[in-house]
Each structure stands twice: as structure tokens, then as C-alpha cells.
């Protein structure tokens, strides 16, 4: 695959200690990018080049990591979209939500809007890219996958359905290069102007267990949420039955 792939990375925070680390989902974006483009993958970060945690991405075997230098509190959106447009990126991968900073999960949406590109949420696998069209699998809840056809360029977020990131190794992390790019700094007004306050845990819905047996519980835990759109046909002629089935298959896109 000779596609220009760029993965966006941020600084993560360990869930129990809060210390900076390689962000879990961003690392998956890098892993997916490495699987797609190998050495040609570009990795991009907007922020402080002096942050030592950036090296843990280099430890995944990257020769270089591009950093758009920004002080904390600056808006990453304009500089990223400008860079991506100029870099001729065809596929941009990013985690769904940052572990530090605002962490609103809005960046991919806003970026896609700025660039005017399609956005895939929860990319699990890129099956093929041919003549400007990518065939990808999108992760849905309960392990389901949806096959999508997207034209290039597109932006995709990855979540925990994407392949597990490879281990970050010390040697490559030390040897890799952090390439600084000077950019115009724009303050993120939403972030700097607002007051941060700790989030309250969302109240939990009371769980009423209706299942009587283990089999029921298993079913409740694994069964697909029923759509309720089904139809029971009785006493039809074979022709009418076949027609109804064909109609459904056409609707679902199984038969074209």
C-alpha cells in the first residue's frame, strides 16, 4: 500500500497514577499506521517537544516524530489541519479521546470538518486501499464489525477494537528523532477561558437481574440487541416468501 498515512498522538496519563505515558488509543493509532504504511508512517504531535513521554512513541520503531511546537493551552486544531492539508495526507489516524487536557473527544470531528474529509469512528482494520477507495472495518458494540467503503482522504479514530500497540523499546526511543516544526500559536479559548472542575461519576442505572438461569444470563450478556424490525410470515406461497426474502436482502445490501 503506497498511501500517505499520518497518526496523531498526544500525551496520555496512567489511569491509576496519573503520570504521563504513551496514550493507549493513540498508540493503537500508531500501531495501525505502522501495519498500513510501515516505515513511511508519519507521526504527528502538537505540543511540547521537551516532553520525554514522546519518546515512548519513537520506541515503537519510528525514525522520526514530527512535533508542532505549542505551549500548553494552545489550540491544536488550526495547526493540525493546516499541516495535514499541506502534507498531502490520505489517511489520518487518531485516538478517540485524549487522556489529558480537554479530552473532549471532539478533535477528530472538528478536524474532519475543517478539512472537509469523511470521518470513521472506531476503525478496527483497513482491508484494502485501491484507486482512491479504502475498504475498512468499523468496530461496533459487542464485537460486531461493519464494512465501509470510504474515499481517500479520510480521517479515522481508533478505540480499543484496533490492534494492540507494540511494546515501546528503549533503544529506538533514544535514537529516534523529534523533528520540531514552528507554527503560529493560537490560544484555545474554550480551554483557557473556562474553569476546569473534576467530573462527577455518572449515576449508575440500577441493574435488575431478571434472568432465572445461567443460560438466561449468558444470553443477556451476549445476545445482540434486538432491533424489533423483524417480520413473521406465515402461510405464504413459496414465490411470495422468496420475494419477501429477496426484498430484505436488497434492503440490507447483501444482494445488489
Amino acid at each position: 500500500m503506497n498511501t500517505q498515512v499520518i497518526s496523531l498522538v498526544s500525551i496520555g496519563a496512567h489511569p491509576t497514577s496519573g503520570r504521563p505515558r504513551r496514550a493507549e488509543q493513540d498508540a493503537r493509532a500508531v500501531e495501525l499506521g505502522l501495519q498500513m504504511a510501515g516505515d513511511k508512517l508519519q507521526v504527528l504531535h502538537a505540543g511540547d517537544i521537551a516532553e520525554p513521554t514522546l519518546r515512548s512513541y519513537l520506541g515503537m520503531g519510528l525514525a522520526q516524530l514530527h512535533v508542532l511546537e505549542q505551549p500548553p493551552g494552545a489550540d491544536a486544531l488550526p495547526v493540525l489541519s493546516e499541516y495535514l492539508r499541506d502534507a498531502g495526507a490520505q489517511v489520518v489516524l487518531t485516538g478517540s479521546q485524549a487522556e489529558t487536557g480537554e479530552g473532549s473527544g471532539m478533535l477528530p470531528f472538528l478536524l474532519a470538518e475543517h478539512l472537509g474529509w469523511p470521518l470513521i469512528v472506531g476503525l478496527a482494520q483497513v482491508e484494502s486501499i485501491e484507486s482512491g477507495v479504502a475498504l475498512v472495518l468499523q468496530a461496533l458494540p459487542r464485537g460486531q464489525r461493519r464494512r465501509l467503503k470510504v474515499r481517500l482522504p479520510f480521517l479515522a479514530t481508533v478505540d480499543n477494537a484496533a490492534p494492540k500497540p507494540r511494546q515501546s523499546a528503549y533503544g529506538p526511543a533514544q535514537r529516534g528523532e523529534l523533528a520540531a516544526h514552528e507554527v503560529e500559536v493560537e490560544a484555545d479559548e474554550l480551554f483557557t477561558g473556562a474553569v476546569l472542575q473534576p467530573a462527577k461519576p455518572r449515576p449508575k442505572r440500577l441493574k435488575v437481574i431478571k434472568a432465572k438461569s445461567g443460560a438466561d444470563r449468558m444470553k443477556a450478556a451476549t445476545a445482540k440487541a434486538s432491533g424489533g424490525g423483524g417480520q413473521v410470515l406465515k402461510g405464504l406461497s413459496p414465490e411470495a416468501g422468496a420475494e419477501a426474502i429477496l426484498k430484505l436482502l436488497l434492503e440490507e445490501g447483501v444482494v445488489r
Partner: protein
């Protein structure tokens, strides 16, 4: 005729041997530099050979005596043969001496032959089966050709037929013994072994010393390789050490991973390293294979990566770093060093630590503990104990190093028991609390030297802030690392295992102990306490003080079998045919003991992981805490009380 033929044969073989030695030395010199005092080492070698090495060999009396006879006989006969037959010094006394030496050698060779008649599986076959015959050929031939010199027989006895036969015998003998010694025959062990003893990387091991801490990597030296990728990345004296292997298989017999059917055999590993340093395939290896891996499919040379050519990665990750192989090795080869060196490359360069390895290392970096628990919870186990913090006291007698067992509910019982003992003995102690970090043991054994050094330097910085006389810990792994591995980073402390400390307390009468009640007890020696630090006695002393007569396992003391929990083995979790702790539990069961005393959180966890019914597992601290009596020790005199009036 023999008088002209023998010098030619002898000197030709010796000349070829010198050529071979130079060739072999060139192979070792492909390795990296190592700081060794060459002259001092050579001078120290005879003593190392006759004292330290003999000490290890003498554990097996049969082979020790055999070897003394054979080796002494050979060295003497070789020297005398060169004088008598090489230089033609047909002196009668020399001749008689040569006769005696060759008889001695022949006796030794006979016992080698007897051992080889039905050899145990740990011994290598192949060319090694030929060796006793070669030894006999050498000794018998030289005995016979020397008879005329000693004046026993006339000079021209036997005619040309016997002369021809004898020259064939001498040819066979000197080919094996001189030429084969440096060209890779079984006798290579004598040549490489002697030099290996002289230029050993851990000279401290000789003269009764101990050197078990891993050697640090210089991470600031950008030109130095991060661990060993190719055979030439070993230091030259490590390569020499591999060549010293005599393939006796004592390591194989002691290796817990091999016994569990995991793909590791220390002997084969060392032989693979020999293949690596000389180039070739492992097809000629005539011993036991790595379990589950056929022989002959691996090849390598000094400039080719070792992993996935010469050795598979799972072989390296099977090792529990228990040092049983190093302890048993009569050639004092350092298997564990080599394995960790190769692991370092896999982790630091390839990012290929298997299974949970990567996760554990990430946790260590982000949370200072392998489990990824919130660092703020490090002292939760002692929430109600009101432990004195060193940050508040500033100085104390005993710094209680808690270790990562603080996060493990089973080990918290041990920790609480030990605190009870400390309090009962009124020890002036304190803990680091949240300032403590993982000692770096697991990171280091998994090859992540960078994370180890990060943790070590931070711990050393913390410790430098305070004043304490000694560190006491319940974890032999922390004990070993603090005691033996922090020194390289300027962290020198007096460190004690809690068993040693409790033995001292008991010795001073600081504890008022009752007797252990009930069940019979055996004791499991943790590798990192025993083999790594030579502490076999203190735990037994403590147990004796509790009135326990330890029912020793067959494999105890320096021969103790690993629980399977060391070296990150539970993290990398390489599959085998059975589990190491199950085998150890069988050892325990054979003693008939109902309780096994342990002194290590890893051993506790591994042994408790064995399915019931099985003997109970208790830490020594728990046994001591259970036996504590409430009243203070001197109050044993009966309390006199006014008799109550009775009407």
C-alpha cells in the same frame, strides 16, 4: 623406528595444537572488550582450579576422584612424554615416572569408561563416548612405548608390528589429547576451561567469594550495544567461558524449566553459544534437546543475530534466573548472565518481551509497581498499624523495605506478621511508605535495564535523604537487588533478609517465643536468598528456635529447586509440560510435612497457586508472629500473689 617417529608425532600434534589455540583465541577475540587482569588471572588460575573448581566437582565424589586421576595422570604423562620421547631424554627415572603417570591416567580413564557404559541422560554422547577410549589409547600407548626406556623391556622388543601398533595408538592419543584440545574436540574443555578460570568475568567468585549481581549496562555510552544481539556482542571472556563447557549436564539436571518441559536446557544453550562463536549448526550436539525443539534446525555465526536463528526467544524467556545451573556448573560458567544479556537486546531493542512483559514494564514506569496499582495505595495494608514513616522520623535503626508485596493480599499477611514481630522486639524501625518504589528486580530480569536503572537511581536518591543503620526486607528479590546490584549506582547499604534479622533478634533474646504448635514443617530455600546470597542457615535457626525440626527436602540448601517465580517467568509464562511450582510441591509432599515455611513473596504466591489438597504455606515471619508470647521475656518468674482468704 619409534625413536624417530615419536618426536615427529608429538611435535606435529603440539604444533597443530598451538595453531588451533591461536585460531580459537581469534574466535574469542571477536567478543567485546572486558576488564580483566590477564597476568594476575593466569597466576591465580592454578589455585582457582585446584580449590574452587575442585570444590564444585567434589560434590560428586566418583567423578572428582576419577578426574583427579585422569587429569593429573595426563598432565604428568604429557610433560614427561615430551621430555622422554620428544626430546629423547631416555633417562630411566623419567621413564619410570612416565610409566607411573600413565598408569594413573589409565586408572582414571577406566573409571571414565565405567561411567560411560550406561551414561545418565544429562551426559552428552557423540564424541564424548569416544573420550575414555582415547584416554586409554593415550595412556596404554605411552605406557608401552616407555617400558624400554624404564629398562623393563629391551629396546627392540616386539619388532615392527608392535611398533606400528603403538605408533597408531600414540597417534590416536595425541590427536585427541593435543590436537583435539584446541580444535574443538572433547578435550577443549581443559584448554578453554583453564583460561576461562584465569580470565573469569567474576573473579570475586573464587576464594570463597560470591558474585551474583548482574553487571550494569552503560546506557550513556551510545556506541555500546544494548544487550547481546549477535555472539560477538558478548565480551570475549564470556565467549571463552562458553567454550569451557564440558557438557556434564549438571545444569540440565538442576534446571527447573527443563524439568517442567519448557524449551530450555542450559547445557544446550551454552553449546549453541559455542556454535554461534565458531559458526555452524547445532546438528552435532549430542545431548538432550530443548524440550519440544528438534536438534539440527538451528544455525548461526558470530555476526548473525542469535534469536530466531541459533536460539528461539522462548528458550531465553523460560529461565527463572534461579542460578541452579551456575551453582552446579563445575566450569563456573555464567548461564544467567548470558540469558539476561540476550533478553536485554530483545526488550531494549526489539520491544519483544513476551506475554504480560510489556504491560508490567509499562506499569513499572508509570506506577513504580508491576501490577499498575495506584502508587498512593502502597501503604494501605498498614492503615491500622500506625507505622512510623522515615520521612517523619528522619533516622532509624532499621529501615523496613516493604516491597511490592504491599499490593498483594496474601503477602500483606506476611508483612503484618513481620511488623508484629518488629513491634514485639521493640525495634526502632520505620518504612519509606509512599516514597518506596519497586526495587527494579523484575524489570532487570526481563532485560529492561533502562527501567531498572530508573527505579534504582530514584530509590537511591530517596535513601540518601535518610539516616538508617540497615535495611531489612521480607523479599529476597529486593534484598538481593538492594544488597548486590545498587552498589554499581553508588547505593551501598547493609541489607538483611527478615529471616537473618529475626535470627539475630532471637539470638539476643529480644523475642519471647513459645513453640510452634502442631504440624510437621519443611523449609523451601528461596533462590535469591540461598544461591544468590548464601543464606541457608538463618531461616533454619529461626525455625529451630520455634521448636521446629525441619524435615529437609532432598533438594534443599544450594540444591533447592526454584518455585518458578523468579526472573519474570510468571510474567513471560512460557508453556511447558507441567508447572514448576507443582514439581516443587511434589518435593514438599515427599517429606510428609504438613506445612512448608517460606521466606519469599514469590515463592508464597507460586506454591499457594498449587491446587489443594497440599501442605499449608506460611512465611517464617508468620510462624514467628504466631509463636509470640504476650508477656515480656524476663517475666517468666511466677507472679507471687497474696492468697485469697477462704472462709
Amino acid at each position: 623406528m619409534l625413536n624417530t617417529l615419536l618426536p615427529i608425532l608429538l611435535f606435529a600434534a603440539l604444533g597443530l595444537a598451538v595453531l588451533g589455540a591461536l585460531r580459537r583465541a581469534a574466535m574469542w577475540r571477536r567478543g567485546r572488550a572486558s576488564k580483566v587482569d590477564l597476568i594476575k588471572g593466569l597466576l591465580a588460575m592454578p589455585k582457582r582450579y585446584m580449590v574452587d573448581l575442585h570444590h564444585v566437582v567434589a560434590r560428586d565424589k566418583y567423578i572428582a576422584n576419577t578426574h583427579v586421576a585422569t587429569a593429573l595422570g595426563f598432565v604428568l604423562s604429557a610433560l614427561l612424554a615430551v621430555l622422554v620421547h620428544g626430546f629423547g631424554l631416555h633417562n630411566r627415572i623419567l621413564g619410570v615416572a612416565l610409566l607411573l603417570a600413565s598408569v594413573l591416567m589409565f586408572v582414571g580413564a577406566t573409571f571414565v569408561y565405567l561411567r560411560r557404559r550406561n551414561p545418565p541422560s544429562r551426559l552428552s554422547k557423540g564424541p564424548w563416548m569416544r573420550l575414555p577410549k582415547s584416554l586409554m589409547a593415550f595412556s596404554v600407548s605411552f605406557f608401552l612405548v616407555t617400558l624400554p626406556v624404564a629398562g623393563v623391556l629391551p629396546a627392540d622388543f616386539g619388532g615392527w608390528l608392535l611398533a606400528a601398533l603403538l605408533s597408531v595408538g600414540v597417534l590416536w592419543g595425541v590427536s585427541e589429547m593435543f590436537f583435539g584440545m584446541t580444535w574443538g574436540g572433547p578435550m577443549k574443555h581443559a584448554f578453554a576451561g583453564a583460561l576461562h578460570l584465569a580470565w573469569h568475568r567474576r573473579a570475586e567468585r573464587f576464594g570463597g567469594g560470591r558474585s551474583t549481581g548482574l553487571k550494569p549496562l552503560d546506557l550513556n555510552d551510545k556506541s555500546a550495544p544494548l544487550g547481546v544481539e549477535k555472539p560477538k556482542d558478548f565480551t570475549w571472556n564470556q565467549l571463552l567461558g562458553f567454550d569451557a563447557c564440558v557438557q556434564c549436564g549438571k545444569c540440565e539436571a538442576a534446571c527447573p524449566a527443563f524439568a517442567a518441559g519448557q524449551p530450555l536446557n542450559p547445557k544446550k544453550l551454552i553449546q549453541d553459544m559455542v556454535v554461534g562463536l565458531a559458526g555452524g549448526t547445532d546438528a552435532k550436539f549430542a545431548g538432550s534437546a530443548y524440550p519440544g525443539k528438534p536438534i539440527g534446525e538451528h544455525r548461526g555465526n558470530p555476526h548473525q543475530p542469535i534469536v530466531n536463528g541459533l536460539v528461539d526467544a522462548d528458550t531465553l524467556w523460560s529461565c527463572t534466573t534461579c542460578r541452579a545451573c551456575v551453582e552446579e556448573c563445575p566450569m563456573m560458567i555464567e548461564h544467567v548472565d548470558a540469558i539476561v544479556d540476550m533478553r536485554r537486546h530483545l526488550t531494549l531493542e526489539k520491544g519483544a518481551t513476551p506475554n504480560k512483559g510489556a504491560e508490567v514494564l509499562e506499569n513499572l514506569i508509570a506506577t513504580d509497581n508491576p501490577g499498575g496499582f495506584a502508587p498512593g495505595g502502597r501503604l494501605n495494608w498498614a492503615a491500622d498499624l500506625n507505622l512510623p514513616l522515615l520521612s517523619e522520623k528522619g533516622r532509624c535503626e532499621v529501615l523496613f523495605w516493604v516491597g511490592d508485596g504491599a499490593f498483594d493480599m496474601r503477602n500483606q499477611r506476611t508483612l503484618r506478621a513481620f511488623v508484629k514481630v518488629l513491634k514485639a522486639a521493640k525495634v526502632d524501625f520505620a518504612v519509606l511508605g509512599l516514597e518506596e518504589r519497586d526495587s527494579g528486580d523484575v524489570a532487570r530480569r526481563l532485560g529492561d535495564e533502562a527501567t531498572f536503572q530508573l527505579l534504582a537511581t530514584r530509590n537511591i536518591q530517596t535513601l540518601a535523604k535518610y539516616n538508617f543503620t540497615r535495611i531489612v526486607t521480607c523479599d529476597p528479590h529486593s534484598f538481593h537487588v538492594l544488597k548486590n546490584e545498587y552498589g554499581a549506582f553508588n547505593g551501598d547499604y547493609v541489607v538483611q533478609h527478615h529471616s537473618t534479622f529475626m535470627a539475630e533478634l532471637i539470638g539476643h533474646g529480644a523475642l519471647n517465643l513459645g513453640q510452634h504448635k502442631g504440624s510437621s514443617v519443611t523449609y523451601h530455600d528461596p533462590c535469591y536468598l540461598g544461591r544468590y546470597n548464601g543464606e541457608y542457615e538463618a531461616p533454619r535457626q529461626v525455625l529451630r528456635a520455634l521448636g521446629i525440626e525441619v524435615k529437609e527436602m532432598q533438594r534443599s540448601g544450594y540444591r533447592s529447586r526454584c518455585c518458578g517465580g523468579g526472573g519474570g517467568a510468571p510474567i513471560t509464562d512460557i508453556p511447558g509440560k507441567q508447572r514448576i511450582p507443582d514439581m516443587r510441591m511434589d518435593d514438599i509432599r515427599t517429606t510428609g510435612a504438613e506445612l512448608v515455611a517460606v521466606g519469599c513473596p514469590q515463592c508464597t504466591a507460586m506454591l499457594e497457586g498449587v491446587v489443594e489438597p497440599r501442605p499449608l504455606i506460611k512465611d517464617i515471619a508468620e510462624l514467628v508472629a504466631d509463636a509470640l508470647l504476650d508477656e515480656p521475656a524476663p517475666a517468666k518468674a511466677p507472679i507471687t500473689r497474696e492468697p485469697a482468704e477462704v472462709h
